[in-house]
């Protein structure tokens, strides 16, 4: 210790106070390794400070085994040193033939212990919540709603410009579909089929229209069942609509099935459109 090294000269009392122990390791003699001998036994001598700040010498005797080598067959080790041939000869170093993916790929578990469901926030008081989704009225933000594509659709629908005041087609000679021409009767061009329509959300992916019909049939006559499918993947998007012939039946279905557990999911059933009062 007295052998005045450069490091020691730099040491100040203030630094000693600040960081206790760990950063003083440079004061210790370097690690010594003796061996390994023919039996693979080597001696490692290390020095470190203990809790009292005293220097301690640690001598460890270790037997090392070459595991990696043992696993490869002799032939395989030999092949490792084979010369490159064919197109691999020139410029294999640094070229981008072999790249380690920057992306961490997981074995994505379908179900079981590997797939973790989203844990509910334990701090949130149960039953009372200030957050209300504009789409499905659940207690989460609209942006994180599983059915937010519904909202988008609603918004798109309301953003369609109403061109009643202007009369396109009169000023420019462009084709205007009959339905958009001034004076066209817009009400019964296509009868809207949302009377007594019930929206069912949080359906499982496997639910198909017949399943929904089976579920809603006991409440009364059903005129239409529709499950929204993704256009491209043909996978259910998790919501659907059921039209009842009688409004009372629909109301009964809502009362009964809202919050009903179906296929591991809690259904949410409500009127598809706000009722005009």
């Amino acid at each position: 210790m007295k052998a005045g090294t450069v490091n020691e000269a730099k040491l100040r009392w203030a630094e000693l106070d600040d960081d206790d122990g760990e950063d003083l390791d440079f004061l210790l003699p370097p690690k010594e390794v003796i061996g390994p001998d023919e039996n693979g036994i080597k001696k490692v001598i290390e020095y470190k400070f203990n809790e009292q700040g005293n220097k301690v010498k640690i001598t460890r005797t270790v037997q090392t085994r070459k595991l990696a080598k043992a696993r490869l067959s002799k032939k395989a080790v030999e092949r490792r040193s084979w010369a490159k041939f064919g197109e691999a000869v020139n410029g294999n170093v640094g070229d981008s033939r072999t790249v380690v993916s920057t992306e961490e790929i997981k074995l994505e578990r379908r179900n079981g212990p590997g797939s973790k469901p989203v844990a509910p926030n334990p701090l949130a008081p149960k039953g009372v919540t200030t957050i209300k989704c504009r789409v499905c009225e659940g207690d989460h933000w609209s942006s994180s709603c599983p059915h937010k594509d519904l909202l988008l659709r609603h918004m798109e629908a309301s953003e369609v410009p109403i061109s009643d005041t202007q009369t396109p087609g009169t000023s420019k000679k462009t084709y205007v579909p009959p339905g958009l021409r001034p004076g066209a009767d817009k009400t019964d061009m296509r009868p809207r089929r949302d009377e007594n329509s019930v929206r069912v959300t949080n359906l499982s992916e496997d639910t198909r229209e017949p399943d929904l019909l089976e579920l809603f049939r006991p409440f009364g006559d059903v005129s239409r069942v529709y499950v929204a499918l993704d256009k491209e993947t043909q996978v259910s998007r998790g919501f659907g609509f059921v039209n009842f012939v009688r409004r009372e039946d629909a109301q009964r279905a809502i009362n009964k099935l809202n919050g009903y557990g179906y296929d591991n999911l809690i259904l949410s059933v409500e009127w598809a459109t706000p009722r005009p009062n």
């Binding site: 920057t102 074995l107 994505e108």
Partner: protein, 328 residues
């Protein structure tokens, strides 16, 4: 895990094969040059130049000295693994689809496609230990009664006594490799309904797994040809693999290559799907390819696997620790 991406091919991959020690990985693609890679770090060791058509299949001898490749250029070639030199060329009158060395590497089975007026056939060739003695004569030629339909895979049965073949007619056949007699066909009602694209034997040869475009893979007993298990998935299966370590099977596939550009990528399901071999239950999927998976291979030590896709990439996956204690 962080897969290693290997881009050695310009065209879709067709086949992947590890050697017995699991240190080399051979890859075939529709470009004409099979490649060999070090299976630990994915470094390319060499290429085998000489074919003049898509290379459909390959096999490597037990001592990793010889490679045999089957190509659409109507030939099968023997190569020296170390130098990349051609040793011998078997010429046929139609494209060769599947090749495999027998146990002991003294024989090879080569299948040829239907072509012009030729019907598909299975050829058995003797492989000489000294390439100078190699002859092009077929020991046995099996004419297969499936008309214009291809044989996609033919492999050796236990003790080289039989040859198992499967192909576009969706029927698995077992042949006597001595006499060429048809011994068994699988039961129609339990078999596949569409083209069988791949066939892989278990490490001990007692059972084998077939993958088919009917969106399923089936596990069969090699001797009795009885159906053991069925694994169902959502997309056509192009490639199958069996873990030598755990009771896992892997199915790779995706929609038909011709539909890739016209449909949504989410519909493609270009992932390698892991199933429990016994429970037939899906464990999970490994994503990453931009196109259907055409080839799958498990390292003989069971600690890594590689997949080759229509996108021209080989992805070499070394499993994380937690893979080995997966519980269903």
């Amino acid at each position: 895990m962080r897969p290693i991406l290997m881009k050695g091919h310009e065209r879709p991959l067709t086949f992947l094969k590890y050697n017995r020690d699991g240190d080399l990985l051979f890859s075939c693609a529709k470009d004409h040059t099979p490649n060999v890679w070090f299976a630990d770090n994915g470094e390319r060791l060499g290429t085998y130049r000489g074919h003049n058509g898509a290379v459909w299949c390959c096999d490597v001898s037990r001592d990793s000295s010889r490679l045999i490749t089957g190509s659409a250029d109507q030939s099968a070639k023997l190569w020296d693994v170390q130098s990349g030199q051609q040793v011998f060329t078997f010429n046929f009158d139609s494209p060769t689809r599947s090749v495999e060395f027998s146990v002991g590497d003294r024989l090879a089975v080569i299948t040829t496609d239907p072509f012009m007026e030729l019907t598909p056939a299975i050829h058995v060739k003797r492989i000489a230990s000294d390439p100078a003695d190699q002859s092009a004569e077929s020991v046995l030629v099996l004419k297969v009664p499936q008309g214009r339909l291809k044989i996609n895979r033919a492999v050796w049965g236990p003790l080289n006594n039989t040859i198992i073949s499967a192909g576009e007619d969706a029927i698995i056949r077992i042949w006597d490799s001595e006499t060429g007699k048809l011994l068994k066909e699988n039961q129609k009602e339990e078999g596949h309904t569409k083209t069988i694209t791949s066939l892989v034997k278990s490490p001990d040869g007692s059972h084998f797994l077939t993958g088919s475009l009917d969106k399923s893979a089936k596990l069969w007993d090699t001797r009795t040809l009885t159906l053991i298990k069925t694994y169902r998935t959502e997309s056509p299966v192009n490639a199958v693999a069996m873990s030598p370590l755990l009771n896992h099977v892997v199915l790779g596939g995706g929609q038909d290559a011709i539909n890739v550009t016209t449909t949504d990528h989410r519909a493609g399901k270009f992932e390698a799907k892991f199933y429990d071999k016994i429970l037939q239950e899906e464990i999970g999927g490994v994503k990453g390819h931009f196109g259907p998976i055409n080839a799958l291979a498990f390292n003989p030590d069971g600690k890594s696997f590689s997949s080759g896709g229509e996108d021209g990439y080989i992805r070499l996956h070394h499993f994380d620790h937690d893979y080995f204690n997966i519980k269903i």
